[in-house]
């Protein structure tokens, strides 16, 4: 036996080393958490990343001196181009801000909650996993900087990935093109939802799209917010190719908006909040105030102006507050106010500011919102009653 072990010593050692590693793999696979291999990873990261950080620091230093003080060719032309672009963007912003304001107002009325990125942290990509089959990168910010697990990592172009592991001064980011990643996504125009997954070749695919759906190449893809990692509406990329397969789902290849193979600076979303968007002129309102404005009531007295009565002012702002001639309205049969006395239908004055059709059901929202406005349940306004049959 001893001779046998001596003779096959090397093979025995090989078997022992392999067995130990297989055992370690089995333990890691069995445990879902990261605790079993945490120590080894911390050592390895602390061994490699300081060197990466120092090289990035030196590179940025020398590159900054060269770019900012020496190599300034074409800067004037670039400055002119940028100024023109700013003018274009200003015009575009005015148009978009109107739309955004209207959308916020509607969201506020309907009680839609929206996720806002309230705080981000800029980080530098300092290294990769070193493996072609593991699509992850390391950034130079860690738990000491406020980075936490499962935080979204984005660039100005689009999403990049999520924080997988956090160390003291570095973090590992799992990219969206890794097979183990998953992002809730929605197509911008067709509003089809799917799950974004990576492949081992580093491609990004949109899964769970039924084959009877129509997906056009070039369509923009955004985050749906369903994964609880990425806020809704962030750009992901565009549809590059759609392959119809005999299977139930389409094979949709996505071209990521962010260049995942050449990442340098990224933003870590360290804080986000979910709230009903504020409307600038809305403020905090009580349900009673909304009711008072929307339900039929006595119109408010128009503000006294110094203008003479003979010169009426047809200003849009004051026109809404002016009393209008009363219109006869047939009350609902079940309405407590719809009483008929002496065969004479009571005449109700309509508010001048809001039309009668905008009256809706106002109720307390169980989700904690002060109120929700829904469509009116009653029938639309009836035509004026015929006077030949007074009862």
């Amino acid at each position: 036996m001893e001779n046998l072990l001596t003779r096959y010593r090397n093979v025995c050692i090989l078997a022992g080393v392999l067995f130990a590693q297989v055992l370690g793999l089995a333990i890691q696979v069995r445990r879902t958490g990261d605790e079993s291999s945490r120590l080894i990873r911390v050592w390895a990261v602390n061994l490699i990343t300081p060197l990466e950080k120092s090289i990035i620091w030196m590179q940025n230093g020398t590159g900054g001196v060269w770019q900012n003080y020496i190599y300034l060719r074409g800067v004037r032309q670039e400055n002119r181009d940028l100024k023109m672009e700013i003018e274009h963007l200003r015009l575009e912003r005015v148009r978009l801000s109107e739309d955004a304001e209207q959308a916020r107002r509607l969201q506020s009325l309907l009680g839609f909650k929206e996720q806002f990125i309230s705080k981000t942290l800029a980080a530098q990509v300092i290294g990769s996993s070193g493996s072609d089959l593991s699509h992850s990168v390391y950034i130079d910010k860690g738990s000491k900087d406020g980075v936490g697990q499962d935080m979204a990592v984005i660039t100005a172009e689009g999403i990049v990935g999520k924080v997988l592991r956090v160390y003291g001064t570095t973090s590992q980011v799992l990219l969206i093109n890794d097979p183990s990643s998953g992002v809730g996504a929605i197509l911008e125009k067709s509003r089809i939802q799917g799950v974004l997954r990576g492949t081992s070749a580093g491609q990004v695919m949109l899964d769970k799209i039924l084959s009877d759906e129509t997906v056009q190449p070039g369509e923009t893809l955004r985050t749906s917010g369903g994964d609880l990692v990425f806020p809704k509406g962030l750009p992901i990329g565009t549809v590059a190719k759609v392959n119809r397969t005999p299977e139930t789902f389409l094979s949709v290849q996505i071209k990521p908006a962010a260049n995942l193979s050449k990442l340098e600076e990224v933003l870590v979303v360290t804080q986000r909040e979910e709230r009903v968007p504020d409307v600038a002129d809305n403020g905090t309102q009580r349900a009673a105030d909304i009711l008072a404005r929307r339900l039929p009531s006595v119109p408010e007295k128009p503000p006294e102006t110094k203008t003479t009565p003979n010169t009426p002012k047809f200003d849009g702002a004051t026109d809404a507050a002016k009393p209008k001639p009363p219109a006869p309205v047939k009350p609902q049969e079940n309405s407590p106010n719809g009483t008929v006395a002496n065969g004479i239908m009571p005449i109700r004055k309509e508010p001048a500011s809001k039309p009668a059709q905008s009256v809706g059901k106002v109720s307390d929202d169980p989700s904690g919102q002060p109120f929700t406005v829904t469509k009116p349940e009653t029938a639309p306004a009836q035509p004026p009653p015929e006077q030949d049959n007074p009862r």
Binding site: Q28, V29, L51, S129, K262
Partner: protein, 172 residues
């Protein structure tokens, strides 16, 4: 370290300084992690694998070869997000195989090195895929055309890299 003789030809056995034995694998892992973020095409190479093959062949000791491979592989595993041991097992096998080959063959000339590295790259990838799929259950796709291209690129790089690393060799 014993000197091995094969076919009446003396085959040199080399050793390395401790700093070289530690820093060269560390530097290889560092470059493998750092360079792909600046030069994405570099991801096709596997510098830690080349260093494993070089040390295993030069030392011509199966035990030291497999231990070198295991340590380099585990370090590489620690930087990835996958379970630790995938590269460890692959490089252990390659380290053992390379040192076994080094005992029997003269692997000093460029042609032999080119062929040997190509074969060990394919073996490494095969073992990795078997372990990743069979033991861990990872959904790792295989594009063997890409793997063969990667093995060829690594083999070409190995010829140049081994020539540089030869300067650190010391006769045992």
């Amino acid at each position: 370290m014993p000197v091995t003789y094969t076919s009446n030809d003396q085959i040199e056995v080399y050793r390395f300084n401790l700093p070289v034995a530690i820093l060269v694998p560390l530097f290889a892992v560092f470059l493998q992690a750092f360079l792909p973020i600046r030069f994405p095409f570099f991801a096709i190479f596997d510098l830690p694998l080349l260093v494993t093959i070089f040390f295993a062949v030069a030392r011509r000791s199966q035990v030291s070869g497999l231990i070198t491979g295991a340590l380099i592989g585990l370090l590489q595993d620690s930087l990835s997000h996958q379970p630790i041991g995938l590269y460890g097992i692959s490089k252990t096998v390659v380290g053992y195989g390379a040192s076994s080959l080094g005992v029997k063959l003269d692997v000093e000339n460029a042609g032999t090195r080119l062929l040997m590295t190509f074969i060990f790259c394919v073996i490494h990838q095969f073992v990795y895929l078997v372990v990743a799929r069979g033991l861990v259950g990872l959904a790792v796709g295989t594009n063997w055309l890409h793997e063969l291209g990667s093995a060829s690129a690594n083999a070409v790089l190995a010829v140049a890299l081994f020539a540089v690393l030869d300067k650190f060799k010391q006769r045992a």
